[in-house]
């Protein structure tokens, strides 16, 4: 083998990866400085799917904003709905009925499993474990079937409304959901059996992409990335929202904060989420599924033909929407990727003056340089998968 001179091996090469690249999980562009195969500098370039959702929301009445915000992070749409509806409910001071809290909790946790399944399938695919994709998407499809059964849509369901949820769960849903909840931990065990003894997967993930917990906190990273570094921070435990205070569940944490821990944390979270769904099903109270405040909530369809007052309320809500007194609220929940915050500014009209989402993917992406620095370019791809950015949420 020919001897390479020192300056040749030290030469930096700038490579552009993306925006259209199967390993970037969306349209993320990376400008990478490589020394041989080692990443020496990295800059993410984003904005390729910026669609101005926040601006568009300012032009819609409050209830019409819901389907817009769902489309930001298109894998965890229920979370965007909850962040937005929760913020508006706090703005107008609307308390949602207990059954709605439980229904929302169930769908949020199903969505969390769904999101983690998409993550696990695609990331394992990046590392060569192709079969994981099929297995994960098989279970994901069962969740989408459940969504379709309850809401009529598989994705972007518009199920949460300001004041509760649009409809109660249909007959037969509970049995189907219980069956899923029974199966899911078994399936998770099967995923682990496939990956945890997979030599390729282990050597690609263990000890790779370590960022210290202090640095992650400085960078504002939340969610499974932070928990993998050993910080048990989960908004579901610390803040009081929906039915989470009544639920018994654990926060899985890692020890080293490498890519393997990130994988372990998310997989363990799927099992915890099934526990939450199961408990919520057991504890779910009977009663209304949406608040009874006609100034904000559509009257039941059956009343429209008999009650003039209901008809007027319906007409006002559908045409103009409800007005919200001036004020501003920041409401944050734990999405599958971390703290998803929604800031809504009301100016007294029937349209929000500003809707801003603090998207966890957007903030977490700042940690990517630390994760990938001085690692091989192949490990950078692995770290990107483990970071789990959804570019729809990053770019909004």
């Amino acid at each position: 083998m020919a001897e390479l001179s020192e300056d040749l091996t030290k030469e930096l090469m700038t490579v552009n990866i993306g925006p259209h690249h199967p390993a970037t999980h969306g349209v993320l562009r990376l400008i990478v400085d490589l020394e041989g195969e080692v990443v020496r500098d990295l800059k993410p370039v984003i904005g390729y799917v910026h669609t101005g959702i926040e601006k568009s929301c300012e032009d819609k009445s409050y209830w019409k904003v819901i389907p817009f915000v769902e489309r930001m992070d298109y894998v965890s749409y229920f979370f965007q709905m909850e962040a937005y509806c929760g913020a508006v409910e706090r703005l107008v001071g609307l308390e949602i009925p207990p059954r709605a809290k439980y229904l929302r909790t169930i769908f949020l946790e199903l969505n969390r499993i769904h999101s983690h399944l998409v993550w696990l399938g695609t990331t394992a695919l990046d590392l060569g474990a192709i079969s994981m994709l099929w297995y994960c998407f098989r279970e994901r499809d069962r969740i989408l079937d459940l969504f379709e059964m309850a809401t009529g849509q598989r994705m972007h369901t518009r199920y949460f409304q300001v004041g509760g949820v649009i409809e109660d769960i249909p007959l037969g849903f509970e049995a189907k959901l219980r069956e899923f909840v029974k199966d899911m931990p078994v399936r998770v065990g099967q995923y682990e059996a496939l990956l945890d003894r997979n030599e390729v997967f282990l050597s690609r993930t263990k000890g790779v992409g370590i960022v210290s917990r202090e640095r992650l906190l400085e960078l504002g990273v939340t969610g499974p990335l932070l928990r993998a570094a050993g910080e048990p921070w989960d908004l579901r435990k610390t803040f009081d929202y929906l039915a989470y205070p009544e639920m018994d569940f654990q926060i899985p944490v890692g020890t080293v904060g490498d890519n393997y821990d990130r994988y372990r944390v998310r997989v363990a979270e799927m099992v915890e989420s099934t526990r939450i769904v199961e408990q919520a099903l057991d504890l779910m109270p009977e009663g209304p599924f949406i608040a009874d405040d006609r100034k904000y909530v559509l009257p039941p369809r059956s009343e429209l033909s008999t009650s003039m007052e209901s008809l007027i309320h319906h007409f006002k809500l559908v045409t103009e929407g409800f007005r919200v007194d001036p004020g501003e609220v920041y409401y944050a929940i734990e999405s599958p990727r971390g703290e998803l915050g929604c800031f809504v500014l009301a100016d007294g009209s029937s349209k929000p003056s500003r809707v801003h989402f603090r998207d966890p993917s957007f903030v977490n992406l700042q940690a990517f340089k630390d994760m990938a620095m001085d690692s091989y370019i192949a490990d950078m791809i692995c770290s990107l998968g483990m970071l789990d950015p959804i570019l729809g949420g990053v770019d909004r």
């Binding site: 400085e218 504002g220 800031f343 003056s353």
Partner: protein, 209 residues
């Protein structure tokens, strides 16, 4: 969350160390907010972060709201979080639009809570921000960057610059982040029109050469 008296205590303590930094407080929908002088934003953020007993060491979110037609028009919101006590506090730095003609009187009838509070505190709204010599565009509102205190603000300050044209002095790389680099305008300002951008399709490609 600090309650309303707790918020006043925090205000009093900041006033002791940094007189004039806090212009007003607001406690709306159970969310405490300090409305601070934009010139002293770093002093207040640093105080909240480092003072023993406060320890708001985590910045959840940095975003901008445009309160048009209220004056001052912009507010940079810093959502701080104390993770031990699980308390949030919002810091708002009000920024006037230097491009607008300075108005003689505050807008007392504005729907904006902050502006009303500003009037109540007797400080009066600030109508202009002094331009700094190194700034290329004196028509943009300016504030000090808090990336040194909270590295998480880097992307979020770039986003605020991108959409509202707020210049964060001292930011390491203040460029557009989501809009294209050559874009002109500040699209999330309230006076920026919602409208289409021309897009080339087959039926209209002759219009675009």
């Amino acid at each position: 969350m600090p309650d309303a008296p707790g918020l006043e205590l925090i205000r009093g303590e900041i006033e002791r160390d940094h007189p004039g930094a806090v212009l007003a407080t607001s406690f709306d929908r159970n969310q405490p907010a300090l409305i601070v002088d934009a010139e002293q934003i770093l002093a207040v953020l640093g105080w909240l972060r480092d003072t023993p007993g406060q320890d708001y060491r985590f910045m959840s979110s940095l975003h901008v709201a445009d309160y048009l037609p209220a004056e001052p028009r912009f507010a940079v919101h810093y959502e701080l979080l104390n993770r031990d006590r699980v308390e949030r506090i919002r810091v708002k730095a009000m920024l006037a639009d230097p491009a607008a003609a300075p108005s003689a009187s505050g807008n007392g009838s504005s729907p904006d809570d902050a502006a009303a509070n500003l009037g109540a505190s007797g400080q009066g709204p600030r109508t202009d921000t002094p331009a700094r010599p190194q700034d290329p565009d004196p028509t943009l509102p300016q504030i000090d960057s808090c990336v040194g205190l909270f590295p998480t603000a880097e992307f979020q300050e770039r986003e605020a610059f991108d959409f509202f044209g707020i210049v964060f002095n001292g930011h390491p790389d203040l460029t557009r982040i989501l809009m294209p680099d050559d874009y002109v305008g500040w699209p999330q300002r309230r006076d920026f029109p919602v409208g289409g951008e021309p897009v080339t399709f087959t039926y209209n490609e002759h219009n675009y050469g």
